[in-house]
């Protein structure tokens, strides 16, 4: 099930935002573990340059937090201390790109399993893996850019936040898969109308 999420952008430190989430454990209950700090799980958020400038005290750090939509009011009502919510939007789409080049059958089996046993609700788009076996290339790899076994592919994974992050974690654990950041498409501005 595609559980709706909200992206909240805080002005402040990541430690401050983590402390806030910790303070809200009672209100969030078991959902605490489904609140994600974007930079920790590889969701596109504040740019690296902005983070660098923040570390150099040239800019204020922005921390992106993904929270299940029903808990957004909890964050809005919470005492924020030094933090400030500067943006909040509905998340309407989440996806990440991946690609792999594999010349080893054991690793290929792992990759096939990762992209066939998908978490609930996650789907792959534009994914057409290519598997080639060429016995005549055996031995030739020592002096030419060829291999007797090749398994290559690329695509985009889309789906609910929780499943998508589970797939991203599994893909990242396999060294031959290049995994991009999770990109999110934002919808309605939830602070619209605030003073």
């Amino acid at each position: 099930m595609d559980r709706p999420y909200v992206e909240i952008v805080f002005e402040g430190s990541p430690e401050g935002v983590k402390a806030l989430v910790g303070d809200l454990v009672r209100e969030l209950g078991r959902d605490t573990e489904y609140v994600y700090l974007s930079r920790e799980v590889g969701i596109e958020g504040t740019s690296r340059i902005h983070r660098f400038l923040a570390k150099a005290h040239v800019a204020t750090d922005h921390v992106h937090l993904l929270v299940p939509a029903e808990h957004f009011p909890v964050f809005r009502a919470a005492p924020l201390g030094d933090l400030k919510i500067i943006a909040a939007h509905e998340v309407i789409e989440k996806h990440f790109d991946f690609s792999f080049e594999c010349y080893n059958r054991d690793h290929a089996a792992v990759i096939k399993k990762i992209f066939s046993d998908l978490p609930e609700g996650v789907a792959l788009e534009g994914f057409s893996p290519r598997e080639l076996e060429d016995e005549s290339a055996k031995g030739a790899e020592l002096y030419s850019p060829t291999h007797d076994y090749e398994f290559t592919g690329k695509g985009t994974a889309k789906g609910p936040v929780r499943g998508l992050l589970a797939l991203k974690k599994a893909a990242q654990d396999e060294p031959l898969i290049d995994v991009g950041e999770v990109r999110i498409v934002l919808g309605k501005d939830l602070l619209d109308g605030d003073a």
Binding site: E101, C102, Y103, N104, D106, H107, K138, G139, A140, E141, L142, Y143, S144, P145, H147, Y149, D173, P175, L176
Partner: protein, 388 residues
Amino acid sequence: MALDFVPFIILLGGLFTVAGGIVVRGSLRGSPAVNFVIILIGTLMASWIGTTGAAMVMIRPLLRANAWRKHQVHVIIFFIFLVANIGGSLTPLGDPPLFLGFLHGVSFFWTMKNILLHTVVIAGMVLAIFYAMDTYYYKKETPPPDDGVKEPLRVEGLLNFLFLGGIVGAVLMSGMVEWGTIPIGLGIHENAQNLVRDLFIVAMAVASWVTTKKALREANEYTWGPILEVAYLFAGIFVTIIPALAILRAGEEGALAFLIRAVNTPARYFWATGILSSFLDNAPTYLTFFNAANGQLYPGMPEAQAVGYLMGHVEGTNFPSGAVFLEAISAGAVFMGANTYIGNAPNFMVKSIAEEAGVPMPSFFGYMLRFSMPVLIVVFILTTFIFY
């Protein structure tokens, strides 16, 4: 051309066949210390069994030791730097350009005597960077799995070390004795000691092939493909390089006078030889600048005489020593072959074997931008200031 090509291929083929019969087995855990020792052993071996042979013998134990690690790309890259290139700098057996120098009169131990300090400094810096980098990544690893199987470390195919000694002895012998010349047809005369050397190397390769168990060669995934490829490639290179070398020997009187004038200091020889060796094969590049130096320093002098001066000052003559130039050419050709995947034949071999073992090796430009430029180029710049 044949006098360079045939002995060149015989030596490469001999070392490749003998090294292909040596297998290192055993359970090793790829910690920074273990990786350091494996790469150090490979580096030390490279000057005696060739960079290709050392890479072939040591790459699989290194891959097995690091198979459990998530961060292992840098280990393979530094293996290419050190075992497949830098380690081969001390003898004519180590790297093809040095053997070409030997065929043209550079004595067997000249490189060891003159390049040893370069090698120690460069290998020391690169090994230190490797150890620091590997320690950093090792701390990020999850603990190694206990697979329960502990295979003791052992080397198989030991008889091949005897054949290897035979090859070393044959090459040494050919540089130490003078047995006159023998006509070998088509009006060509060859030194008798060179013919004996080549026949002996072939005999060592045949003996290795006959006495080594097939299973050992299968463990190294030994095929004739690489050496055949080298033979085809160098046949073409050696034919096409003949006019270029003649022009270079003409020095400032020749058509490449601008090159001779531009490359006129040891530092420039080091970088010119090195940059070309990074993208072309380092053996013909060495020969090109070897001839350019002869043409520049001793124009019109017969090669046999000029090489003597190029190795060092000859008492009782007024010609300057060209040793620092030959050092720069040798160092540039051998060390900078590591700058790209195509700079030296074993680089590509190691990349392919690692990829088939599941290591996500970087692309051609990824290798240069992430590893060779930040590590090797910086080390070579320091080397230039230290030695030239």
